[in-house]
Symmetry: C2
Subunit: 167 residues, 2 copies
DNA sequence: GGTGTATAGTAACACTATAACAAAATATGC
DNA sequence: GCATATTTTGTTATAGTGTTACTATACACC
């Protein structure tokens, strides 16, 4: 058995369900899930992979909305704070959390070949970080783990030998 | 006893020694440690904390050198490849490695209060990441661990309550 | 309805990083 | 030494990422 948490509801793979779940969540929580916030979250969900802030901006504009970068960043801040979106510092991109309702530290496996990113939640890593920080008397607020490499698919296909075009 | 590797030669705290060690290393390795590369490395060492690419640029110019951003980034690429410098993706900054001669995966404790960064090398974290990746059939090329939080000094001083000005 | 707060719009700007090509410095083979 | 290939650096322009400051609007609360 894997050490990874497995999720029965992988919202990221079903944008409509994820959106509805978000609607319910914010309604219950008494937090305003405004049209702009909902639209940005939908764009991130439908992207299917990490998406950059300016790509989000572009897609907002495709839908007739006139928007500036700041609008996107403000919404991103909101969604990250609400734990519905993760930021990937390594590639300056944003992706939907697979289990937003469940507070968690996450780790990301970022494929340098196909650009896919897998979110995992490994308690062993969590504990290693917590212990390491404690030894240094360091008070953790956010542990960022982004593991660059080649995903199983690309490794199997031998794509990385052919030049690894990001798609 | 700590799980962390302890370094008898903490080069980062003695820029002159670190520079001389680098001279020796590159001479032995037959790699060109040009004046520009040496100067940039010295700037990073003397900064004492992580420094941005454009701050490096500015300090180069202070010393009469006319330089463009690309020059700095090229040297940074070189120094990172040679493992003498680490890049901190979270804060877009660069810092000298404390043990460049010893190939290692590193983790960074980044204080959001004072901006200090501590490089640690925790084999438990290394193993956790290696195991986690293996479970996912993910071939790791570079594991990035940047832990944001409050350092021991700031925590003790209670600075984080007062607003955490980065110095 | 009036008032305060949260959200979004508008415009300008700051910061981070790279591309393309030319020049100079260095290494290599003769 | 000298010609040649390679590496490093310079020059100029541009792409990509993120923020500041201020205004306007929408919403919550009384
Ligand atoms: Zn998540
Ligand atoms: Zn892949
Ligand atoms: Zn190091
Ligand atoms: Zn601190």
């Amino acid at each position: 058995m894997s050490v990874f948490a497995h999720h029965t509801h992988d919202y990221a793979s079903d944008p409509d369900a994820a959106l509805e779940a978000a609607d319910q969540h914010f309604l219950k929580a008494g937090v305003r899930f405004t049209p702009l916030r909902r639209r940005v979250f939908e764009i991130i969900l439908r992207a299917g992979k990490p998406i950059g802030a300016y790509d989000i901006l572009e897609r907002l504009r495709d839908h007739g909305k006139i928007a500036a970068p700041i609008s996107v960043y403000r919404v991103l801040d909101f969604l990250i704070e609400q734990r519905f979106v993760h930021r990937l510092a390594t590639i300056n991109a944003y992706m939907a959390c697979v289990t937003p309702e469940d507070p968690h530290a996450a780790q990301f496996l970022i494929c340098q070949c196909c650009g896919s990113v897998t979110e995992i939640s490994d308690p062993v890593m969590d504990k290693a970080i917590a212990d390491g920080a404690k030894t240094a008397n360091f008070q953790v607020s956010y542990p960022l783990v982004e593991i660059m490499g080649i995903c199983a698919d690309c490794s199997k296909a031998g794509k990385q030998a052919k030049g690894c075009k990001k798609s």
